[in-house]
Symmetry: C2
Subunit: 200 residues, 2 copies
Amino acid sequence: MDHDFCRAHCTARMTPTEFSPATRAQLDRADALCTEQGARLTQQRREILGLILDAKTPVGAYDLLEKIKTPDRRPAPPTVYRALDFLLEHGLIHRIERLSAFVPCTHLLHDAHAHNPDHCHNHDHETCLHTAQFLICKSCKSVTEIAESSVLTTLRSICREQKFAMQSASIEVIGLCATCAAKERPASNAPRKQATSSPS
Amino acid sequence: MDHDFCRAHCTARMTPTEFSPATRAQLDRADALCTEQGARLTQQRREILGLILDAKTPVGAYDLLEKIKTPDRRPAPPTVYRALDFLLEHGLIHRIERLSAFVPCTHLLHDAHAHNPDHCHNHDHETCLHTAQFLICKSCKSVTEIAESSVLTTLRSICREQKFAMQSASIEVIGLCATCAAKERPASNAPRKQATSSPS
DNA sequence: ACGTGTCATGTTATAATATCACGTTCGGAC
DNA sequence: GTCCGAACGTGATATTATAACATGACACGT
Ligand SMILES: [Zn+2]
Ligand SMILES: [Zn+2]
Ligand SMILES: [Zn+2]
Ligand SMILES: [Zn+2]
């Protein structure tokens, strides 16, 4: 009854960060996904997810903690970690182990899901949600999630051989993205300038 | 001159952990590898490596810190982390990101290297040393390093497509090892006993 | 309206992991 | 011996994560 009122009310009053329309669309998509799963994307979880979506690079838990602080509210670590746990469990974000930081799941970024929820069901949700592959650029910190399932397939066959029951996997590749690699090596094979000014 | 005396003396006095002959053999192998690379496997590094070799499961930095404490010596974290950094750089151990813990590199456990140092040179040392694949059992905490290069090959081809310059990769699979999986499911499909007593 | 269970959140403290900064010692080249 | 750089000792601190317990908001049956 007045539950809807309260939700609207709270949204208006306590949202410290205004998200762009694009981000809001993604958040709404996430909300729908949660509802499908019988879970609630609360205001707090929504805000954390929004901040992760808007960041161009992986975000640490304590970065998030800083960002959600307002004059009124000084949340403590558990607040953030609880939201992160929820988002992880529902496949909305991934944790990058090598960085102790979080990125949105690419499923959220494209509208594949929105149009075709069946897409959810033709791949192995159990394993897929908890498993992703990332290319992490050491230089610009950008992270690309690889949708490609070939790695997972290879891994699965290895596990079968070893009778290992795979539950999830982290695959993280460190290196330089195309852009940064180009900057590093201005010419193909001319390292005779001034030490290539490598930003290590 | 009295250098040899000192080493013997110190070894006798400050080695709190006596390693088994098998472990000592591996340590000697590691020592040789270091010397090849112009590095020194000091007493301290040797002890840390020995402890990691002897452990049946991955060891955390602070576990090691506890283990190397004696009535005389109360080392501080940097001591351990410095040794770990050294061992990582020289490919003697790996870090398991998901556990913040360390395991010996399997190269050390088998004597392939001892007999055939050329083995080192027919695979890509640059990438291989810094890259390994692990099967981590959630239940017994055992970790298996996969020598198999098929995953790495697959990853490399993906990176090539994306023009991503791979420097290293972590591949960690979580699940149940053959032994533990068998324990979990006593019969194939008879979950009607007392909740199978699944340890979380 | 009242108790009651459940989920989400707030709050305080602390655990666990990792690094910085600075001074000293050790080992080997000369 | 003298010197230099690598290795180590030590104290403080940073960063990441969780434990433990209390409160608030709502649903539901009575
Ligand atoms: Zn994803
Ligand atoms: Zn980059
Ligand atoms: Zn290895
Ligand atoms: Zn096991």
